[in-house]
């Protein structure tokens, strides 16, 4: 084996497929946070909300697969994803109450939500399960007829589970919702200039509640995709920092869903690349030619690098993180 191994088509396909897998839970979370932040609410609690979505999703799938949906475990997974979404919305309601109604400092609220969510998820899991060993039946992979035979692109894009296709649709839906619908315009105007929005008859509070709850719902869904679809198990701290990565990627994406796809993919690809480089260099050269610590740094280095070259502060919703007080000025 030699360097051609690295450049072969099968290596490339495996690399990109892995990159997509790693990016999907983060991408869905980023989409949710884009909606929330567009309305001016900075929800830093993603890590905790993902954990709650993850545990609720897992427990739902586990109970359905072992119970009433025993004969159709695939269907149970979709119900679990919905449950994860709803759990995320519940967390979003708490965040919205703290930050919109009580006008508390949003950074503090966010950190509180992280602590609450992570602990709550561990608590729920331990209460519901006697053992830590249970795992789920996973989703089948659909090969789209004819298209999956296209070289390279076929196996990457057209041999995936249904969730992959749903996430692509979700990106389009979120983009359309934020930029082509009246409700989306309301959300963005509330984020840019709440006073002006209020003057034109938009309820700032209601809009911010809506954006926070829906955004958190997507965050919960992201957590559920990780535990239910990708791993089929739940563990303490299973989110492992993905919520914080999502916070950074929202800035990277300049609050635009299509940029979020690029950001999440770059991050996922960098991650999958470093594991594959570690493995391939050992086969090729008999040892790690690049220190593995450097490779582990790669995704984060890339994120910082890309952020450096993107002056994105001007794209941020103008009142991001600021509570709105009616008649205050």
């Amino acid at each position: 084996m030699d360097i051609n191994q690295v450049l072969s088509a099968s290596f490339f396909i495996a690399l990109v497929t892995a990159g997509i897998r790693l990016s999907i839970p983060v991408l869905v979370t980023v989409l949710g946070e884009i909606i929330t932040e567009s309305a001016g609410v900075m929800n830093l609690g993603l890590e905790g909300i993902m954990a709650v979505g993850g545990v609720v999703g897992f427990l739902t799938a586990f109970n359905l697969q072992g119970g009433s949906l025993h004969s159709s475990p695939q269907l149970a997974i979709y119900f679990a994803l919905i449950a994860g979404f709803v759990a995320g919305m519940g967390m979003g309601l708490i965040m919205a109450f703290l930050s919109v109604t009580l006008r508390a400092d949003q950074t503090v609220c966010g950190v509180t939500i992280v602590l609450l969510g992570v602990s709550l998820s561990n608590y729920l899991y331990r209460q519901a399960m006697n053992t830590l060993a249970e795992s789920l039946v996973s989703l089948t992979i659909y090969k789209i007829p004819y298209l999956h035979k296209i070289p390279i692109l076929g196996p990457i894009l057209f041999e995936q589970n249904l969730v992959f296709y749903l996430v692509i649709v979700l990106v389009l839906v979120v983009h359309f919702f934020l930029f082509k619908t009246r409700r989306g315009l309301e959300i963005r105007s509330v984020g840019e200039n709440p006073a002006a929005a209020a003057t034109s008859g938009i309820s700032v509070e209601k809009t911010r509640y809506l954006a926070t709850i829906v955004g958190s719902g997507l965050t919960g869904l992201g957590g559920a995709i990780l535990t239910v679809v990708q791993l089929g198990l739940f563990r303490e701290n299973i989110i492992a920092g993905r919520g914080w990565v999502a916070v950074a990627l929202v800035i990277f994406s300049r609050w635009r869903p299509k940029n979020a796809v690029i950001g999440a993919l770059v991050f996922g690809l960098a991650d999958s690349l470093q594991y594959r480089i570690q493995a391939v260099t050992q086969v090729t050269y008999g040892k790690n030619t690049v220190p593995y610590e450097f490779l582990l740094m790669l995704p984060y280095l890339l994120t910082i690098g890309v952020l450096l070259f993107r002056n994105s502060s001007s794209d941020a919703p103008a009142t991001l993180g600021e509570p709105y007080v009616q008649d205050a000025r």
């Binding site: 830590l132 990780l226 990708q230 701290n237 299973i238 999958s272 493995a279 050992q282 086969v283």
Partner: protein
Amino acid sequence: MNKRFFSSIAVSIILLAVLIMPAIAFEGDSLAILLSGPENDNSWNEAAYNAGIALKEKGVEVAIAESVEAGNAERILRTYSDMGYKMIIGHSFDFGDPVFTVSEEYPDTYYAWGGGIDQGSENVSDYEQPFYEAAYPIGIIAANVTKTGKLGAVYGTDIPVCHSMGEAFLAGAKSVNPDIELISTAVGDWIDVAKAKEAALAQSDLGVDFWIECGEGPALGVIAAAQEVGGYATGYVGDMIENGPSVVLVNLIWNLEPMFSQMLTDVREGTFDGEYYRFGVAEGAMYFALNDGLKDVVPQEAIDAANQALEDIKSGKVVVEFIPE
């Protein structure tokens, strides 16, 4: 003298009682254990938990705190010290600093931490984690099961405890077939199952079909990957068969009871001097256990050879080389 005076007296008495009460030492042996994760993880933490429970059943006063974060460790160590536990074990590398800090405040209490780097003090002991010794016979099994001749090792990070484990696994396999190769990957995270799974899938693409893992996240990730693409995994320091009944072929088991018991004896007899406790295969603290459900996968002569290797390590006939990096 007013009401306030009496109530403050009452409060003082209660406070005094609370302060004095814990100082009443336990009559027999007492042991407190701090775990960094859940007690039923089928792995690292459960190994210490099981040892604690086994000693409790033998009459030792045992307290166990699970899922302790390093930032909380000092507080919990002080609480146990105040309560009069004589021997307190922080079962994680991360509990090193808290243990050394608190041990200076309680010179009459004895401590141990899971450092594995031979670092102790007058009343603090470290203990070795010689997983590599039991990894050798598992390598013999792997060499007989692998179809591709490629083995995988997935580490949380590439620390000596883990690295030596992978190398001994390879050495065991090479004693059967010198052409066998090992691909090792450091995930960079001890709990991120998703990343560990990707690391294992990357190895699988290069032909790996038998893994050993160091860390709970790596083990769960490898099991998840093996369930998807085929191959066999090793249970990491505990019985992980229920995590993957069809892929966990063998468990590397760590029995901490003899070592904890020795620590209690040393405390009782006044011989505790901060020594580096070494309990490996020879002491019966480390061995492997096959998954009965997958017995047909392993040829009988491979099982015999692995058992023989375990005996030879015990007797000193075979010395497994410790390769830390």
